[in-house]
């Protein structure tokens, strides 16, 4: 029982990060129908920059801010300079370009920082509080929950309560109609990519201290888990992405806890296959199934 409680909390904490990362994937999918396979690599790139700033200045938080703002910038630049030039007659084109970006970014990171693991420090203790002999959460876990909750809340407010959010949603659903109504659809797209990449970078900063550390490929496994989370949630649904993230986090935690860590990635892929076969529109889709 103790073990179950511990694994549950651990799973929710991981799941919160996957939720944030899945949310970033959903943001771009909704606006462009492209799964941004480069998101993990982009997040790692900004994390490297962030940790470099932290090392140079001695301030973790300055590096943290640089990483997230760097994500904002990198997302905007990626949309403006790369994705906008992609021929959108087939969605596959964008996906292939995103996969190419992964190779470019990881290659460049390897050249600059080397292909060894570098430590990624956490800003808070990762030692769990124990309540009644059961290890529950660490300070860092609480920070993860708080940060993800804040991001989700801000995104909800942005999309449902502000006119920019209304423009962004309209641009994603009906670009031509939105342009006829005076919406700068291209600008909204850039903003969407910027926000998504910033959320991705945040997720990277939250997950890297719990992984082996900084490495050009450090987010690959996280990407797979988060992509599964987004698909479980239906790719179109922000609520689904958050729920999917928590489901995948719990699954990973239970499987590694009870069956061993080596089985965990297989469990995630199995979940992906089962969902795609059984409910290709995701567990939270309202509309008909969509081919992924």
């Amino acid at each position: 029982m103790d073990r179950f409680v511990f694994l549950t909390f651990d799973g929710l904490s991981r799941g919160a990060v996957y939720a944030a990362f899945a949310l970033a994937l959903v943001l771009i999918w909704r606006a462009t129908r492209i799964v941004n396979f480069a998101q993990g690599a982009m997040a790692v790139a900004t994390a490297y920059v962030g940790y470099s700033v932290s090392a140079a200045t001695g301030s973790y938080w300055l590096g943290f801010a640089v990483a997230v703002l760097g994500g904002l910038l990198l997302g905007a630049v990626t949309e403006r300079v790369v994705m906008r030039l992609v021929d959108h007659s087939s969605h596959l084109n964008g996906v292939v370009v995103a996969l190419g970006l992964v190779l470019v970014i990881q290659g460049v990171l390897g050249m600059i920082y080397g292909n060894e693991f570098r430590p990624a420090e956490a800003p808070f203790s990762r030692e769990a509080f124990t309540v009644g002999g059961i290890a529950l959460l660490s300070r860092f876990d609480l920070f993860v929950f708080g940060a993800v909750f804040l991001v989700v809340a801000l995104l909800v407010v942005l999309f449902t309560r502000t006119s920019v959010g209304l423009r962004m949603r309209a641009s994603a659903f009906a670009p031509d109609v939105s342009r006829l109504l005076g919406v700068n659809v291209g600008g909204m797209l850039t903003l969407g990519w910027a926000l998504a990449a910033a959320v991705g970078s945040l997720a990277g900063m939250l997950v890297l201290p719990t992984e082996l550390g900084l490495h050009p490929n450090a987010m690959d496994i996280v990407f797979v888990s988060s992509f599964t989370a987004a698909v479980v949630g239906g790719l179109d649904s922000a609520v689904g992405a958050v729920a999917g993230g928590l489901i995948v986090g719990l699954l990973l935690s239970y499987v590694s806890g009870y069956l061993g860590a080596t089985v965990a990635p297989i469990a995630v892929l199995l979940l992906l296959v089962v969902v795609l076969l059984g409910r290709p529109g995701g567990l939270f889709s309202r509309s008909a199934a969509r081919a992924v």
Binding site: S163, L166, R167, R169, A170, F173, A174, D176, V177, S178, R179, L180, L181, G182, V183, N184, V185
Partner: protein, 238 residues
């Protein structure tokens, strides 16, 4: 009567084959002009070109004396052009209220944008009762009201309407045609109306343009078109 909109020698094509061939068109300020013709005559292409969604290969569009070449689509609404596209263009994932607000987001005068929104709710009572409903839950008639209302929130000078009667009951169509006439009389709105429903379009229009295979084959008073039996038989099917 002064011309609000002029198209000169518009040739437009998707790919190699032109869909519009050297179309000339003049729409008088404060008038309702019906664009008639069979499927594939180029009516929708004409509207999409006038609102900037399509770029003509040759020719130009002039609004109130200003050449619109090079004006972006999203700037057209700021120049007073509202285009209600085929299939109405209601963003079905958004609520009625969000759709309507979208129509006025570009406006700097927030007070008048709000006033225009309230006027639309007064004008279309069914919309006022369904403010929080998503677009996909509306009936065809309500969607048409929403699309029209959303255009009106921007207080346009020129309204481009693509097949507003499509899929609507005759009574609802008649209401919408009546409303267009009221708007023209009250606010001086200029309307360019693409219609398959020739009778209802000519009942409200001042002038009519008949298109066939991408060319304008007739341009006359609505009454003249109604009475021209040869024209009706040849192009309008009644």
């Amino acid at each position: 009567m002064t011309a609000l909109l002029e198209a000169e020698q518009l040739t437009v094509g998707y790919g190699a084959a032109p869909v519009l061939h050297s179309v000339d068109l003049t729409v008088a300020q404060g008038s309702i002009t019906a664009v008639l013709g069979a499927n594939g005559a180029g009516k929708t292409t004409l509207l999409r070109t006038l609102s900037g969604l399509l770029r003509p290969a040759t020719g130009r569009v002039v609004l109130d004396g200003q050449d619109l070449r090079g004006v972006k689509v999203e700037q057209m609404v700021r120049r007073g052009v509202a285009h209600v596209p085929e299939g109405r263009g209601v963003v079905t994932e958004l609520t009625v209220d969000e759709n309507l607000r979208l129509g006025g987001l570009w406006r700097r005068d927030r007070v008048d944008a709000k006033r225009a929104l309230d006027e639309v709710y007064d004008l279309f009572e069914p919309l006022a009762r369904r403010r929080r409903f998503p677009g996909h839950q509306l009936s065809g008639g309500e969607r048409q009201m929403l699309a029209l209302g959303r255009a009106l929130v921007g207080r346009p000078r020129l309204l481009l309407l693509d097949e507003p009667s499509l899929g609507l009951a005759p009574k609802v169509t008649a209401q919408i045609m009546g409303l267009l006439r009221t708007l023209r009389d009250r606010t001086g709105l200029t309307v360019l109306l693409v219609e398959q429903n020739v009778r209802s379009a000519l009942s409200v229009a001042d002038t009519g343009i008949v298109m066939s295979l991408g060319r304008v084959v007739a341009n006359a008073d609505a009454a003249t078109l109604r009475d021209d039996e040869d024209m009706r038989h040849a192009y309008l099917g009644f």
